[in-house]
């Protein structure tokens, strides 16, 4: 257990202490204590920066379940560190923001911070684990903590709905991912990502490769809200805004991106990977931005915008895989795609984090997030307005903010598809730049909407539940820090190039920098009059035009009927599975003992008969049969007659007498079969049983008068005949096979005198060789006797009607 492991586990440890701090120091906001955790971790992780930027990695192993190959290996490389810094950095800002957002007097802060810390630790675990099983465990932890945080205001119906939805979708993905991990283990024999990367060539040749890839991508796509799994993210906006800013835009939803980036070295050589990741990404980009425009809730816009931006990063990672098909780094324009993905990941965390906090401030100070009610806030909330305008313009891809830079690089990456002659990209690939451009136009529109509809326009303060005013300074610090970063990264992008982006890109494409080469990252504003520049100009022009005419074409959104939306499918699927499983359950869990017995007997017949057939066990061996004497036949006929007549007996007394006949015949058979002890016991027991039966039913009143014959039931008859047949076949088969192996009986016969000094073998076996069996048999009898005694003396509440 090294310091690195402790760092990952620190949030969990802190989470245990938080409730006590909440109870112990009611006058201090619990958030101040919690803030120390991400802050300390951020400072701790920043020390790794020189290590990773020089191309080295750190790996510490703590043996957990070594026999199964599951070790908690903490592994820090460029990619993991980038995420760790995002998690702890944004985490600190979010905790600081939440201190002012959630009032200590009325919120259940202990719950909130426990979940938040649990999430933080889980997320660190995901990005710093080398072992896939450990990664999976932390992955599910993030799903659970996200569920708990979305459902934080659990008295709201929408919160519960959103929490359940996110849980169902992400856990479905998580389980698929587990399947993929298991397949990878079957193929490669290891859970370690680095070892799997080492053998990616062999893995590709395996027939299971494709399944493993698709299952792992399902995990990534559900977590990162890719189409059509994106539906959970807008509903997750019911969570408190700090949570939305943290989990549902900056970190957790990027876990899928992380997974794709991390597994790229394993899968990316394959063309299917490129098409799936890039294709789903670009469509999600378009679909998210298209739907964001129709939202009226500030957080709704941001949610769809997050979906769309995640799609953007995903598509870049997919296209970046094309770089693997070129040998040298010079002229390798597909490196741009991966660099842009990493760069945009950082940028998105900064501008989207600040925008979410802005939305939270607006909600907090005006009481609503509905852009139809908002407007004209610019004079009342100038600082918030500044935050909003910087964040939105960066999101829209306008200079001089960091969003412009990554948007340009994104367009470069998309245009480069034209020159790619791999995997049919030069035919269908045209869709990539086209969709990218359209999506960028919509991105521009909703970014503008976000600012203009909230802060400009006609003030309509009478519609607001609260009298608006500027937020307290504490609430503004965090978004201000983030927009400062937006501006700083915009002007000095190369602050990040060698420290963060280069190591991360090297981790995503480890095979690329051939000996002596290095990934070269240099980001700058002016590229000359390139197609990208004209595309951006086109985006701004078209976007402005469409924003101005928004009212005219907004009708298209109502064209899709509710029935055919993905949400509609989800809701009906959920209802259907609930009512369906209820009906199915009702269908076979009838509550009648009879039904259950029928299942048991039917299964008994099916499994035994099929085993007999499959293992070819049914043989009839007539060589060792004992001879049949005439009185044995007579006795058998008596027994059979008795057993069958019981079925048709009218009165109880007859049945009891017939049962006695069967029992005594069995005793006689024991005599014929040279089993004197059995015969004696059976005679005694049978006599006592019949007496007991008669005793019980002697006490039963009149009802026996109106007794009828048992009605014949076809279904029951078939089942019982089948059971009888099965048992007969088993009896014959096991007798015929009994000569084929040595019996242990001979041991008892040989040693009965030497070891136990007895002559009656059956008795010796019972009281000596298998003495414990007999002891427990006595226990059973004792328990039965106690039960009978209790029942006889039990006087329950009698029914009134008697």
């Amino acid at each position: 257990m090294s310091l690195l492991h402790l760092a990952i586990l620190l949030p969990f440890i802190a989470a245990v202490i938080v409730p006590f701090l909440f109870k112990g120091f009611r006058s201090i906001h619990t958030g101040w204590f919690v803030l120390l955790v991400p802050l300390a971790l951020f400072i701790y992780f920043i020390q790794y920066m020189p290590v990773t930027s020089s191309g080295q990695t750190v790996s510490k192993t703590f043996e957990w379940i070594p026999s199964l190959g599951i070790n908690f290996t903490a592994y820090v490389d460029g990619l993991g560190l980038l995420f760790a810094l995002l998690i702890t950095g944004i985490g600190s800002l979010v905790v600081l923001y939440s201190i002012y957002y959630l009032a200590k007097e009325k919120e259940a802060l202990h719950n909130f911070y426990v979940y938040l810390l649990m999430f933080m630790g889980a997320m660190l675990g995901v990005v710093l684990s080398d072992n896939l099983i450990v990664l999976y465990m932390f992955w599910e932890f993030t799903s659970i903590s996200s569920f708990l945080l979305i459902g934080y205001w659990y008295d709201k119906e929408r919160s519960r709905y959103g929490a359940q939805k996110s849980m169902l979708i992400t856990v479905f993905g998580g389980l698929s991912m587990l399947g993929g991990i298991v397949l990878l283990y079957i193929m490669g024999g290891t859970f370690s990502i680095r070892e799997l990367i080492g053998m990616s060539g062999e893995l590709m040749a395996d027939p299971l490769f494709l399944f493993a890839m698709i299952l792992i991508l399902l995990g990534a796509f559900t977590k990162s809200a890719q189409f059509p799994f994106h539906v959970w993210l807008p509903d997750a906006m019911e969570a408190p805004t700090p949570v939305s800013a943290y989990l549902h835009s900056a970190t957790m939803v990027k876990a899928g991106i992380y997974l794709v980036a991390r597994m790229s070295p394993v899968f990316a050589e394959s063309g299917v990977w490129l098409w799936l990741v890039a294709g789903f990404g670009i469509f999600t980009l378009f679909w998210g931005s298209f739907n964001a425009v129709k939202q009226t809730d500030l957080k709704g816009i941001l949610a769809f915008s997050t979906v769309s931006q995640l799609g953007l990063i995903m598509s870049l990672l997919g296209l970046g895989a094309a770089a693997l098909h070129f040998d040298t780094l010079d002229e390798n324009m597909y490196m741009t795609a991966t660099i842009a993905a990493v760069f945009h990941l950082i940028n998105h965390a900064t501008f989207k984090g600040s925008l979410f906090m802005m939305a939270g401030i607006v909600d907090h100070e005006t009481g609503t997030r509905d852009i139809r009610k908002l407007g004209g806030l610019v004079n009342l909330m100038p600082i918030t307005f500044t935050i909003a305008i910087i964040g939105s313009f960066s999101m829209a891809g306008l200079p001089p903010f960091n969003g412009f830079l990554s948007k340009e690089m994104f367009l470069t990456g998309m245009i480069s598809v034209f020159e790619l002659d791999l995997f049919n990209l030069n035919t269908w690939g045209i869709l990539f730049p086209v969709l990218a451009w359209i999506a960028s136009v919509f991105t521009f529109i909703y970014s503008i909407m976000l600012v203009f509809k909230t802060f400009l326009g006609k003030p309509q303060f009478d519609k607001l539940p609260k009298k608006p005013h500027e937020a307290p300074i504490g609430m503004l610090i965090s978004p201000l820090v983030l927009v400062t970063l937006v501006v700083v990264f915009g002007f000095f992008p190369n602050l990040l190039s060698n420290t963060m982006i280069k190591p991360a890109v090297e981790a995503i494409l480890p095979s690329l920098p051939a000996a002596g080469q290095e990934v070269y990252v240099d980001i700058y504003f002016w590229h000359g009059f390139t197609p990208e520049l004209f595309m951006t100009l086109g985006i701004i022009l078209t976007g402005t035009l469409m924003y101005a005419t928004l009212a005219k074409w907004q009708g298209v959104y109502n064209r899709i009927p509710e029935r055919f939306t993905i949400n509609g499918f989800y809701d009906r699927g959920l209802d259907g599975s609930e009512s369906g499983s209820f009906k199915l359950n009702e269908f076979f869990m009838t509550g009648y003992m009879r039904s259950y017995l029928i299942y048991i007997f039917a299964f008994f017949v099916a499994i035994l008969l099929s085993t007999l057939t499959v293992s070819d066990a049914f043989v009839i061996d007539t060589s060792n049969l004992a001879e049949i004497r005439i009185y044995e036949v007579v006795l058998a006929i008596v027994l059979i007659a008795g057993a069958i007549t019981i079925l048709f007996a009218k009165s109880r007394l007859t049945s009891i007498v017939l049962l006695g006949v069967v029992g005594y015949s069995v005793a006689l058979f024991f005599v014929f079969f040279r089993a004197p002890d059995l015969a004696l016991t059976q005679l005694v027991i049978e006599t006592v049983s019949v007496a007991l039966f008669l005793l019980c039913f002697y006490h039963l009143p009149e009802i026996s008068r109106k007794e009828e014959r048992m009605k014949f039931k076809m279904g029951n008859a078939v089942i019982s005949i089948l059971v009888g047949l099965t048992v007969t076949l088993i009896g014959i088969a096991s007798f015929s096979n009994s000569q084929s192996f040595e019996s242990i009986s001979q041991y008892h016969i040989d040693n009965v005198y030497e070891l136990a000094a007895g002559g009656n073998m059956v008795n010796v076996i019972l009281v000596d060789f298998r003495g414990f069996d007999t002891l427990f048999e006595i226990c059973v009898l004792g328990i039965a006797a106690l039960g009978i005694y209790a029942m006889v003396n039990f006087r329950g509440v009698r029914r009134e009607k008697r």
Binding site: I646, V666, F672, I685, F697
Partner: protein, 113 residues
């Protein structure tokens, strides 16, 4: 003989299962009693019948019938007696308390037999 006994056992099982599936509690109990008779005979049959003298050490006898199944069956007889007695008293008491020995009426449903 073993084949004959297998058929007898099969018929015992058949009757037992049919009775167990019926609605009258008494018939269910009789069914379980028949089922244990069937099982005992099956155990003996499977190991071969009448393969030698009764399993009591006797001078000059070389071959005995298999004592092990007999020991098993002996245990089983006693246990099945315990179970049957328990069932019987249970049924008797249930009858006294509920006024019926029909399984469906016990659940509170009308008998639709």
């Amino acid at each position: 003989m073993e084949i004959l006994m297998s058929i007898v056992v099969g018929i015992l099982f058949m009757s037992a299962v049919y009775l167990i599936l019926s609605k009258s509690l008494l018939r269910v109990i009789i069914g379980t009693a028949l089922l244990s008779h069937g099982a005992h005979l099956l155990l003996l049959t499977m190991s071969g019948l009448k393969t030698g003298a009764a399993p009591v050490l006797t001078d000059g006898v070389e071959s005995y019938t298999d004592p092990l199944p007999q020991a098993l069956v002996l245990t089983a007889i006693v246990i099945s007696f315990g179970v049957t007695a328990f069932f019987l008293v249970l049924a008797y008491r249930a009858y006294q308390e509920l006024g019926t020995d029909n399984m469906e009426e016990m659940k509170g449903n009308e008998s639709n037999d």
